[in-house]
Symmetry: C2
Subunit: 227 residues, 2 copies
Amino acid sequence: MANYCECEGCELRSLFFNNVNKTELLSLCTLKVERSFERGDLIVEEGAPIEEFIYLKSGLVKLYKLSGDEEQIITIAKPLDFVSLLSVFANNHYKYSVRAIEDSVICCLNIQNVKDLVKSNGNFALDLLEKMNRVADNIILESLEIRRKHLRGRIAHVLLYFAEYIYNSNEFDLPISRKEIAEYIGMTTENVIRTMSEFRKDKVIKINGKTIEIINKPLLEKISALG
Amino acid sequence: MANYCECEGCELRSLFFNNVNKTELLSLCTLKVERSFERGDLIVEEGAPIEEFIYLKSGLVKLYKLSGDEEQIITIAKPLDFVSLLSVFANNHYKYSVRAIEDSVICCLNIQNVKDLVKSNGNFALDLLEKMNRVADNIILESLEIRRKHLRGRIAHVLLYFAEYIYNSNEFDLPISRKEIAEYIGMTTENVIRTMSEFRKDKVIKINGKTIEIINKPLLEKISALG
DNA sequence: TCATTAACATGATATATATCATAAAGTGAT
DNA sequence: ATCACTTTATGATATATATCATGTTAATGA
């Protein structure tokens, strides 16, 4: 019986389940499933019925929507963004797809369990409301931010997003292709590649395949702000 | 004592407060304030502290964000979209501004009261989660929809949005200026005006100042879908 | 009422970005 | 190792949209 559930030590607990006590946690965890995905794997498919309450335990995912044969990337999310929840209370079916862009582990809770917990534990309900609000806010604000910039500013913004928000380092491996950056910022692949090459020529960044190093951050920030 | 509160007959109750009983409602309403705004009035100012839980009882508002001297319109909301809630649980200060674009009435509840109700009434908490999810979803989906279209498609989309979603009629008075349409779809004012003139010349719409009549809806829908 | 400003309108031109073309380098499968 | 395929790369050209200019009309305020 013992170790089917490690939630008590779960790194997410303090943030996500702040106000959930051990008994409640155990009851959630009884019906919990943890799943691993490799980079590139589809985690959630648009249109599929929502049967679980999913959060990202580790890794990195992209949230996107298909329109025709094109993908529109809505956001790149790391743990605690738990974007998969966005539609979870409002819809029966997923409105977006989620794909792992790094090896990822998700934790799936029974959705009815979570709803029951919302009903019975008011502090958890408030926590959840706050987190949902924050996730939605971030996506909306980020999208406005990108929208008001031009090509160069958008790309600078995305590079800074990875450096500061995702990897906390000026050197990192891009987890997505240039094409995907294009799908995120709403520009063409060629222009993403071209602009990154320009940044390289202007000695703002170094490029080595997927590896990016920001070597003139103040300038990149300026491009992001003004471009 | 009697009639300070009409919430029991409030049209919103069935949707918004489905699961709130009379006693709870009365306790909310004791601290409720109803406020009227004229077209053009500022209802909520970005940066101001969030002290109330606001929903739109009647009218029409625009939700927008300032960047420099420019306004970016996030969404046009009618009652039951109650957009003002979007940040309410996640932030202490408003991240957006809200302005009446038609005469509007809002209902302001004490935010602590609402939080208490979330804690004590699980069904209300679930309702609120669902509604927050839906509002966020709509804004995100709408924004993606607009993003993937070109100028003509975006304008067709906006005209259909007013005709179908807001006014339920092929003839309506635009509540916003061409400049504001531009701020909503991320294009310039001149191009909005020009494109609407083209639609007029192509006999897709009739224009009489602010009054718009859609006279070839199938074509407008086609432009929205393909443009 | 007139003056002032904002909204609407339209054309000419400039500019940013998309599209098309081509190729090298990387990746995965057989 | 080879083949097919995707990604990265770069240049030339086309196109969509922004910018600039100018005028008219409608709204707003003293």
